[in-house]
Amino acid sequence: MRTATITTIIMAMGIIITTMTMTTIRRMIITMITGAITTTVSMAICTMVRGRRGPRFRA
């Protein structure tokens, strides 16, 4: 849930920035590239933040 939320926010930010600065076909291409990059980066960040799946120890 948290991963999906962060991914969506970062993707939306990337798309808004690129669409505000570019035009037509270039805008479409760069939007796609930005989306892919932001998704990958955000997934990596989420994995780092959350850590590897496994048991939790509550002392």
């Binding site: 799946r53 496994g54 048991p55 939790r56 120890f57 509550r58 002392a59």
Partner: protein, 233 residues
């Protein structure tokens, strides 16, 4: 996946777990610890039984508890309220504790040498039977509200247990549970298992259970070398 491949995978998982269990077992023996793995279905009264046991024994024995549940630290909180140190292991999607988890929990908990470590496994009568944690004994808890045929339905768990506690016997007058048949079913699956009738709520049979526990703790701590600091004094 072929059946052959499936069997191989299971053997590999249990083999890895057994390696960790052996390491735990060696550590427990070195530290003179008496370690029990409490297993049962959910709702059998493990935590209540444990709390009553800890309250009765905390002044005479060094005790520590590892609590296993999929989520929440409710059980560990109940244990800590008795004054005994406890660590909660949330297994997430897992349906049992394994030896690797227990090893890490022991590192965090740091139980004293010669202590009694009680591991309350995830409520489940199937998977925990196959996963050795390095404990001295598995103790199965069967409450009289569950049905006397449980040992026949889940034979692996009762076959792997050295002690079976028939819990909540104070409720017997209100139930159709045939306790003689339940004991006979346990013995059909595991003739060596000792069966004790207990009630954590009324205290019935608790003395026998605690005597058994104290006996085991005494035997385990006897393997420790003579207490060097005391001898030096």
């Amino acid at each position: 996946m072929s059946q052959t491949r499936l069997i191989q995978l299971e053997a590999d998982i249990l083999g890895k777990n057994n390696g960790y269990a052996q390491a735990n077992c060696a550590q427990f023996a070195r530290d003179g610890m008496f370690v029990l793995n409490l297993v049962s279905s959910p709702g059998s009264g493990k935590t209540t039984l444990l709390c009553k046991t800890l309250e009765a024994l905390k002044d005479t024995l060094d005790l520590a508890v590892i609590e296993g549940d999929q989520q929440t630290s409710a059980d560990a909180d109940r244990i800590r309220a008795t004054g005994v140190p406890a660590i909660q292991v949330n297994t997430g999607k897992g349906c049992h504790l394994d030896a690797h988890m227990v090893g890490h929990a022991v590192e965090s908990l740091k139980p004293a040498k010669g202590s009694v470590l009680l591991i309350e496994n995830v409520g489940n009568l199937v998977c925990p039977a196959g996963f050795d944690l390095g404990e001295a004994h598995k103790v199965a808890i069967l409450s009289v509200t569950e049905g006397e045929d449980k040992p026949l339905k889940y034979p692996d768990m009762f076959a792997a247990s050295d002690l079976v506690l028939l819990n909540k016997v104070d409720l017997l007058p209100h139930l159709d549970f045939d306790i003689e048949e339940a004991e006979a079913n346990v013995r059909r699956v595991n003739p060596r298992a000792r069966v004790l009738r207990v009630s954590a709520r009324s205290g019935e049979g608790m003395e026998a259970w605690m005597q058994w526990l104290k006996g085991g703790a005494m035997m385990a701590s006897a393997t420790l070398p003579a207490t060097a600091p005391l001898a030096a004094e």
